[in-house]
C-alpha cells in the first residue's frame, strides 16, 4: 500500500482514504462492523442526530424502485444524549474519523446539537439541511439560498469542528446553494442528498410509502449526482464529499474526477454490506493500473474530450 498515497485532507482533517459512508445508511457503524473493518474507512458518517429523540415516520418507510430505492424513515434517532453516551464511545474504538450528521426542525435544534458536540471527540459535523422526509426543517432550509447562508453562519459561530453542509439536489441550481453555504462560512460541502420520488402500488392504488414521497437513492441517481458535484466544483473553492449512487470503485472514481475530494457509499451498503471495502480496494487497484501515485491527482481531473 505504501507505493500509493490514498489519504485526503478535508479542511484540515486527514482521512486515510476518501471512502466514507452516507448518513443514515450505516447507523453508527455497529451493525456493519460485523462485515466491515471500520478501521479501513476514511470516516464513518453517523445517522442524523437531533437534540431530542425523534420517532420518525410511520411504516412502510422504504420502497424498491428500478436501480434504487425510496426511503422516508424520517430521521428516527435517539437524540444527542444517548448518541454521545453510546455511539461516540463505540466509534472511538476504531482508527477512523467520526463525522456526526446533525438534523433539526429549527435553527435552535441544530445549534443545540452542535453546541453539545463541541467538546466531544468527533472530527467533523455534517449539517443535514436537505432531508426531504421531515416536514419542518430539513429540506425547507436547503432549498433557499438565504436560509442556507444564515444557518451555516449561525452554526459556524459556535461549532468547534469543521462544518460540512449537506446539499439537496431538489433545486433548480445547486451552485446557488453551494455558494450560499460558502458565503456562510462552511468548511466543506457534501452532495447529493436524495431526490424526492414516489411509488404507487397499482394493484391497491395506494402510495407504497406511508409518507407518500420518499428520498430516492441508489445507482439510478448517480449521473445526476456526478453532474451536480462537477457543477459545484466549478462554483466554489470548498472541498466536496460526493455521494449519490456509488456502488463500485468506478462510481467513486467518477465522482472524484468530477471534483469530489472524498466519497460516501450509501444505499449500496444495503445491497452488499462489504461495498465500502470493495470501493477502497478498487480505488487502489485503479491507481496502480494507471500509475497514480497520489489520489489527489484525480480530484477534479476530468478534462475535455
Amino acid at each position: 500500500m505504501s507505493d500509493i498515497k490514498t489519504s485526503v485532507n478535508l479542511c484540515g482533517v486527514e482521512l486515510k482514504n476518501p471512502v466514507m459512508v452516507a448518513s443514515g445508511t450505516f447507523g453508527s457503524g455497529e451493525e456493519y462492523s460485523e462485515f466491515v473493518d471500520l478501521n479501513r474507512l476514511g470516516a464513518v458518517v453517523t445517522k442524523g442526530v437531533a437534540n431530542i429523540p425523534w420517532p420518525g415516520n410511520p411504516t412502510p418507510r422504504v420502497a424498491e424502485v428500478y436501480g434504487g430505492m425510496l426511503n422516508a424513515v424520517g430521521l428516527q434517532n435517539p437524540g444527542i444524549d444517548v448518541f454521545c453516551n453510546r455511539d461516540i464511545p463505540f466509534l472511538k474504538n476504531y482508527d477512523t474519523k467520526i463525522i456526526v450528521n446533525v438534523c433539526g426542525k429549527s435553527t435552535s435544534d441544530y445549534l443545540e446539537v452542535v453546541e453539545r458536540l463541541a467538546d466531544e471527540p468527533v472530527d467533523m459535523l455534517e449539517i443535514n439541511i436537505s432531508c426531504p422526509n421531515v416536514k419542518e426543517g430539513g429540506i425547507a432550509f436547503g432549498q433557499d439560498p438565504k436560509l442556507v447562508e444564515q444557518i451555516t453562519s449561525d452554526i459556524k459561530k459556535i461549532a468547534k469542528q469543521p462544518v460540512i453542509m449537506k446539499l439537496s439536489p431538489n433545486v433548480t441550481d445547486i451552485t446557488e446553494m453551494a455558494r450560499a453555504a460558502e458565503a456562510g462560512g462552511a468548511d466543506c460541502l457534501s452532495l447529493i442528498n436524495t431526490l424526492t420520488g414516489m411509488k404507487i402500488d397499482i394493484d391497491r392504488r395506494t402510495f407504497v410509502l406511508a409518507n407518500k414521497t420518499g428520498g430516492m437513492s441508489g445507482p439510478a441517481i448517480h449521473p445526476i449526482a456526478v453532474r451536480m458535484v462537477y457543477q459545484t466544483a466549478q462554483a466554489v473553492k470548498l472541498p466536496l464529499i460526493g455521494m449519490g449512487g456509488i456502488a463500485t470503485a468506478e462510481d467513486a472514481i467518477e465522482m472524484i474526477l468530477a471534483g469530489a475530494t472524498a466519497v460516501s457509499v450509501g444505499t449500496a451498503n444495503f445491497v452488499d454490506p462489504r461495498t465500502t471495502i470493495k470501493v477502497v480496494e478498487g480505488i487502489e487497484a485503479y491507481m496502480r493500473k494507471y500509475g497514480v501515485k497520489d489520489i489527489n491527482e484525480l480530484v477534479g481531473a476530468v478534462h475535455e474530450r
Binding site: 443514515g24 445508511t25 450505516f26 447507523g27 451493525e31 456493519y32 460485523e34 462485515f35 445517522k47 429523540p53 425523534w54 420517532p55 420518525g56 411504516t59 412502510p60 418507510r61 422504504v62 420502497a63 424498491e64 428500478y66 436501480g67 434504487g68 430505492m69 426511503n71 424513515v73 428516527q76 434517532n77 435517539p78 437524540g79 444517548v82 441508489g218 445507482p219 444505499t267 451498503n269 444495503f270 445491497v271 452488499d272 454490506p273 462489504r274
Partner: protein
C-alpha cells in the same frame, strides 16, 4: 464474534408445492449451522434493477448438512421471488443471515399457528419445541406442508372455503377442536396476529408473533422495518423496535398490531 454471514448459497433442489408456493433447499457454508427457528435470511436478486434483499423465513434448518429449507410465495411477475423460483439445482443465490432473533424455545403446551405464507417458519419451530404442541394452519384453500407438520406434531387446519378442516380461520379451528394451550407462537397476516393477540389475552395465554415489514439493510442499521412497541426500544429510545433485529418475533403484548 460474527453471527451473520454473507454467502453464495447453492441451490440443492426446488419445486412448486402449491400454486405460486415454492419449496427451495439451499446449501450454505455457515448460515445453517448458526440458525434457529424463527430467524430469516436475506436473498439478493441477480438483477441490478432490484437492489434490496428479500427477507425469507426459515422453514427448515439442517445444521449438520448445512442446508436451509425456504418455502416462499412468488408475489407476482417480474418480482425477485419469481426470479428465485426459477433457480435450479446448482444455481447460486447470494444470501445474508441468519437474521433476527428467532423463537425462544419454552416447555409450555403450545399452539404453533401459521396463516398462509406464515406457515413455513412454524415447521422448524415444531421440530425444535420439546413440549406438548399442536400446529394450527390456516389456508385459503390449497394446502401445503401439511404432511410435514403431521409428521412432527398434532395438526389442525382451517380453510377459508371449508374445503379442508374447519371452515374459517385458525381461531375457528381451535374452537372447533376444543383445543387448549398455554402459549401461542404465530406467523401470518397482521389481521390474524391481531386476532391472536386478543384471543391470547382473553384466554390468559402467552403469545409470540413473528412480524413483517418492508426492509432495506436487514441488519438493524437503516431503521426501515420498525414496529410500534410498548417499551422504549434499545436503539432509539422511542418505542420503535426493529423487526429485523429485535424481531421478527415479539411478545404480542409488547407490540402494536
Amino acid at each position: 464474534m460474527a453471527t451473520k454471514f454473507e454467502e453464495m448459497a447453492v441451490v440443492v433442489s426446488q419445486k412448486e408445492i402449491a400454486t405460486d408456493i415454492y419449496d427451495l433447499t439451499i446449501q450454505t457454508k455457515d448460515i445453517a449451522a448458526n440458525a434457529k427457528a424463527g430467524q430469516f435470511i436475506s436473498l439478493y436478486c441477480n438483477d441490478g434493477t432490484k437492489l434490496l434483499p428479500r427477507p425469507i423465513s426459515l422453514c427448515g434448518i439442517d445444521r449438520e448438512a448445512g442446508t436451509l429449507r425456504l418455502v416462499y410465495r412468488v408475489t407476482g411477475e417480474k418480482t425477485g421471488t419469481e426470479q428465485f423460483s426459477k433457480c435450479k439445482a446448482g444455481d447460486e443465490i447470494r444470501v445474508l443471515g441468519p437474521l433476527g432473533n428467532g423463537f425462544e424455545l419454552g416447555d409450555k403446551k403450545a399452539f404453533l399457528i401459521g396463516g398462509g405464507i406464515g406457515i413455513p417458519p412454524m415447521l422448524q419451530l415444531a421440530k425444535e419445541l420439546n413440549c406438548e404442541k399442536t400446529a394450527v394452519l390456516g389456508y385459503r384453500n390449497e394446502l401445503f406442508l401439511l404432511e410435514d407438520f403431521e409428521a412432527v406434531c398434532d395438526t389442525m387446519i382451517a380453510t377459508e372455503d371449508g374445503s379442508a378442516g374447519t371452515k374459517g380461520n385458525v381461531i375457528d379451528a381451535i374452537k372447533a377442536n376444543g383445543a387448549k394451550a398455554d402459549v401461542i407462537y404465530a406467523c401470518g397476516p397482521t389481521p390474524m396476529l391481531r386476532a391472536l393477540k386478543a384471543y391470547a389475552e382473553e384466554n390468559d395465554m402467552e403469545c409470540y408473533v413473528s412480524m413483517e415489514e418492508r426492509m432495506a439493510c436487514g441488519i438493524g442499521a437503516c431503521l426501515a422495518c420498525v414496529c410500534k412497541t410498548k417499551e422504549k426500544d434499545h436503539h432509539t429510545n422511542v418505542n420503535n423496535k426493529r423487526i429485523c433485529k429485535e424481531g421478527p418475533v415479539f411478545n404480542a403484548k409488547e407490540v402494536e398490531l
